[in-house]
Symmetry: none
Subunit: 237 residues, 2 copies
DNA sequence: TCGCCCCTCGCTATTTCTGGGGAGGGTGAA
DNA sequence: TTCACCCTCCCCAGAAATAGCGAGGGGCGA
């Protein structure tokens, strides 16, 4: 592992806000000798955050032009699990070519490598490094640092999730065993009567469980309760 | 990185089926000198697979007793992103204690470390190492191999996803934008009427979307459709 | 052009769920 | 022991979802 990296990884776990996140990306960029390092994520509530070394002009332009919807990096990474070299992506569409041209004009390097990461509840993040170099030099660099990058990306995401969790401050309700079973059966598509039969209890009793679960979860109706239970990992279908 | 590990990682990418997956876990177990190594995953269609070194008696018993629903390891990992030491988990419930007792009686070691991994479309996997040892020895081992384990887990998952993608005759249902929006609103607890109002369409139209989504997802009712859409990562509440 | 899928709207009858209200006994922790 | 929570069962009326039928216009790729 590269010198100084270990220390940076530990500092990442002490990050408290977007500004310090940003300075971590800057340190990493300098450490690896790259043009850019960017960490960008969408939390479970759908809010987007970004910390990185792109110029503010480029970030503004990206948002203004809604490039998020045509960026092949986003597109490609959302569908896969493994890290991706930008050269592997599909840049054939007209929109993609225009986007690339604009990106290069705003200081983005021609080479990139992005690592998609997924957390609970649909959390999604992208860790990207970017530079200007030849294909050969880039591939050598990637081969050398690939594994470190995966570790770094994970450290970033771990911290981002921790910060998210702290803000949400949801007390995370727990369901009783019978409530869990009842909600699970309903989530599997059984009707109340079927679920009750499955559990060997009366439909009335089953209803009490579902109602109790609904109240605990703060759900508006049964379907909502199932959705929340699933999102919170309280049940597994 | 431990000697022989590099070679094993490369071999993982040549795995072709469950049997060779299994032998990879056995090699890893021997390499690290552990009691067990298990890789278990749920693909985007909800099918479960497992490859590991647990005795077949234990695997059978696990399935028979439906331990999946009370296993604190599954529960804990489903709710988090970062690797977890089994000792950190909540073993206080009665069911958890009974499960632990049974597990120990079937050759499962007292120490465990599990890495949750999430892929596209709600894919979820768990990479676990297990051994019998003291808390101190275990923590030392984890500290030493933590990063290698993350890499290994990723290599396993990369291959599992590749194999899934190849086999998957199930065309992985996709929802149209309006269907997605409709299902999302229902998942948030809105009634049909409210969801329709939110989308600015008639309730009848909304119903058509929900029905279409239900059929695509092979769901028995609306709640089931919501559960499947969530599990497959098609919607985010 | 044809076919497929998407988007939009309508009707009816039946089944199911929802939201209140009760009651009693069991268990585990403070 | 008390208190809180869990498990079980019951009634009812109104609201909502379901299953089935129908219609038409638009877009996109073969």
């Amino acid at each position: 592992m590269k010198a100084g990296l270990q220390e940076l990884l530990e500092d990442i776990q002490r990050v408290e806000n977007l500004e310090t996140f940003q300075s971590a990306t800057e340190r990493l960029r300098d450490l690896l000798g790259l043009s850019h390092v960017v960490y960008h994520w969408v939390n479970s509530v759908g809010e987007r955050f970004g910390a990185g070394t792109y110029s503010s002009e480029w970030v503004d332009r990206y948002l203004e032009k809604d490039y998020l919807r045509m960026d092949p990096v986003i597109f490609g990474c959302f569908q896969r699990f493994t890290p991706v070299n930008w050269k592997q992506l599909d840049w054939s569409s007209k929109a993609a070519k225009a986007f690339l041209h604009d990106a290069l004009a705003h200081g983005v390097g021609n080479q990139g490598y992005s690592i998609p990461i997924r957390g609970p509840n649909g959390q999604f993040a992208l860790f990207t490094i970017n530079d200007t170099s030849s294909d050969e030099a880039w591939e050598t660099l990637i081969a050398e640092t690939e594994r470190d990058l995966v570790i770094i990306a994970h450290e970033f995401n771990k911290r981002a999730l921790a910060l998210d969790a702290r803000e949400e401050s949801a007390p995370a309700p727990t369901l009783s065993p019978r409530e869990t079973a009842a909600v699970t059966h309903i989530a599997k598509g059984l009707s109340r009567a079927q679920a009750a039969a499955e559990m060997g209890i009366s439909e009335h009793t089953l209803r009490v469980y579902i109602e109790a679960a609904r109240h605990k979860l703060g759900a508006l109706n049964t379907t909502h309760a199932v959705a929340r239970a699933l999102s919170n990992g309280l049940i597994i279908v």
